[in-house]
């Protein structure tokens, strides 16, 4: 047996491949090691460590930033599943810190207050992979061009209202389908209209899907919400406030995990939806003032 050369970390395949391993799973927001353990025990594929869930960020206001490193380390040592954490849009030093802490994925997130209103983080140069939010295909492709190894719908975080996630999943899906109908000449114009690199536009037209894993996020609060997003083409689900702002987090978390796996089986979804207690109290997104809509953050 010969000796293989030393390995290479942080390659595109290693970053995108990590997201492939999360498919069909649920990633849960947690704010304490105790919540992280509940999430792991319920079958989460990963946890998102943050200081306040989006519903509390909305309620309390102020500037939302990267979490305290002590708190992130506490969660990393509490569970054996991957731990993600959020950096502000454009805040490349928060991202450097999160990479140094050893988080497994960084969410460059509109839920935190943006640090740069023109630029996102140049993500390709990092060893740690990034997930970014998108409201449509063009936004998804711009993030992938910057180095995002995973995309999620933005939805409207902290509302418990799935309507915006539905809108974004449908928009991304429709954008992908449309590219498949265009010829070579038309794809140049499509790239211009999408404000996205031509090579990525051609790749999506050929694959019929994004070149990275697509999750959904932003307002998922019930097993049926998660299953609907999966049927709309999501490859997995982020649940933010929906679990730990509900009456029985452990049971709701397990139910959402099961509904995500059996998203195409209404009997299973009916069964797991029973006896979950109170869901989080939701917000009608149409009543939110423009400045409180997180999905408009990102460029």
């Amino acid at each position: 047996m010969s000796t293989p050369p030393t390995g290479t970390a942080g390659t595109q395949l290693v970053k995108r491949g990590m997201a492939e391993q999360l498919k069909g799973g649920v990633i849960m927001d947690v704010v304490t090691p105790e919540q992280a353990r509940i999430a792991e025990d319920a079958g989460a594929v990963a946890v998102m460590a943050l200081e306040r869930v989006p519903a509390d960020i909305r309620a309390q206001g102020g500037i939302a930033r990267m979490s305290d490193p002590d708190m992130i380390e506490g969660i990393i040592s509490a569970v054996s599943i991957p731990v993600m954490a959020k950096a502000r849009i454009g805040h490349f030093v928060e991202a450097q810190v999160l990479q140094a802490l050893g988080v497994d994925y960084i969410d460059e997130s509109e839920v935190l207050t943006p640090a740069d209103e023109a630029h996102h983080i140049a993500k390709a140069e990092f060893t740690v992979p990034f997930v970014c939010g998108a409201t449509d295909l063009g936004e998804a492709l711009r993030r992938i061009a910057e180095g995002a190894a995973m995309i999620r719908s933005k939805g409207e975080a902290g509302t418990g209202n799935v309507v915006e996630a539905t809108r974004h999943m449908r928009a991304i899906r429709a954008g992908i389908k449309r590219l498949g109908t265009l010829d070579e000449t038309e794809l140049f114009v499509a790239a211009k209209e999408l404000r996205a690199p031509h090579d990525l536009v051609v790749e999506v037209a050929r694959l019929g899907k994004l070149p990275v894993v697509l999750f959904t996020a932003g307002g998922i609060a019930t097993p049926a919400d998660a299953a609907m997003m999966m049927q709309l083409g999501a490859e997995g689900v982020f649940v933010g406030s929906g679990i730990f702002k509900s009456g029985d987090p452990a049971q709701r978390a397990a139910a959402i995990v099961q509904a995500t796996t059996f998203a195409d089986d209404p009997d299973v979804i009916a069964k797991v939806s029973r006896g979950l207690g109170e869901p989080m109290v939701g917000i009608d997104v149409s009543t939110l003032p423009a400045g409180e809509r997180y999905a408009t953050r990102g460029w």
């Binding site: 047996m1 010969s2 000796t3 293989p4 050369p5 030393t6 390995g7 290479t8 970390a9 942080g10 390659t11 395949l13 290693v14 491949g17 990590m18 492939e20 391993q21 999360l22 498919k23 069909g24 799973g25 353990r37 792991e40 025990d41 319920a42 079958g43 989460a44 594929v45 990963a46 569970v79 054996s80 599943i81 991957p82 990479q99 050893g102 988080v103 497994d104 994925y105 060893t127 740690v128 992979p129 397990a254 995990v257 099961q258 796996t261 059996f262």
Partner: protein, 196 residues
């Protein structure tokens, strides 16, 4: 004969394994229920989160049928989380983590480290013609101890066992399904064909 090979489809990179098996000469089908498991000639336990897959298998009554199938000689290949699920003994497991078992090895979870330590490298695999495979290691486990009937097929440069075989059971720490290289899947389909 085209063997029917299932991929346990509770969570993980199921689609990549289905495509690799199909290219490797099998009819590949997803498996989420006991009756679907009963209809396959071989099974792949995919990459994913081993704790999640084990919990879902347990909750949906698949853990015992999976154990019975392995015990009665069903050929099974596990990659990464699949290797963890096939192991008889785990190190660095989550509290109360269960496995399917059947492979007489001790596997250390996340042995190569966190995602920032994940890597690619060339891995020569014993008995596989055509040169080394591109090993993609993602928060990967390794085999720390092997029983007498277990053959180590590949090691990393620092000597860690990353591919093993015991009869009809095959496991790799890395993810051939993420590369275009179908040789390991084709080799597993051969094992299934010979067992049928």
């Amino acid at each position: 004969m085209t063997p029917v090979v299932g991929v346990l489809a509770l969570q993980g990179d199921v689609r990549e394994h289905l495509a690799a098996l199909q290219a490797g000469g099998a009819r590949a089908v997803p498996v989420r229920r006991a009756e679907e498991l009963a209809a396959v000639d071989g099974l792949v336990l995919p990459g994913g989160e081993s704790t999640t897959i084990a919990k879902l298998a347990d909750r949906f009554g698949l853990l015992d049928p999976l154990r019975d199938a392995v015990r009665s000689g069903l050929p099974v290949y596990g990659s990464c989380a699949g290797m963890v699920l096939l192991a008889d003994r785990l190190l660095d497991a989550a509290a109360g983590q269960r496995t399917v078992g059947g492979l007489d090895v001790t596997v250390r979870r996340n042995a190569f480290g966190r995602q920032v330590d994940s890597f690619e490298t060339e891995v020569p695999v014993d008995g596989l013609a055509g040169g080394p495979v591109r090993g993609v290691f993602i928060r990967a486990p390794w085999v720390e101890e092997c029983g007498a009937d277990v053959q180590v097929l590949a090691r990393t440069a620092d000597g860690r066992a990353v591919a093993v075989r015991q009869g009809r059971l095959l496991a790799t720490s890395f993810h051939p399904e993420l590369t275009g290289d179908r040789r390991l899947h084709a080799a597993f389909v051969d094992v299934v064909r010979q067992a049928a």
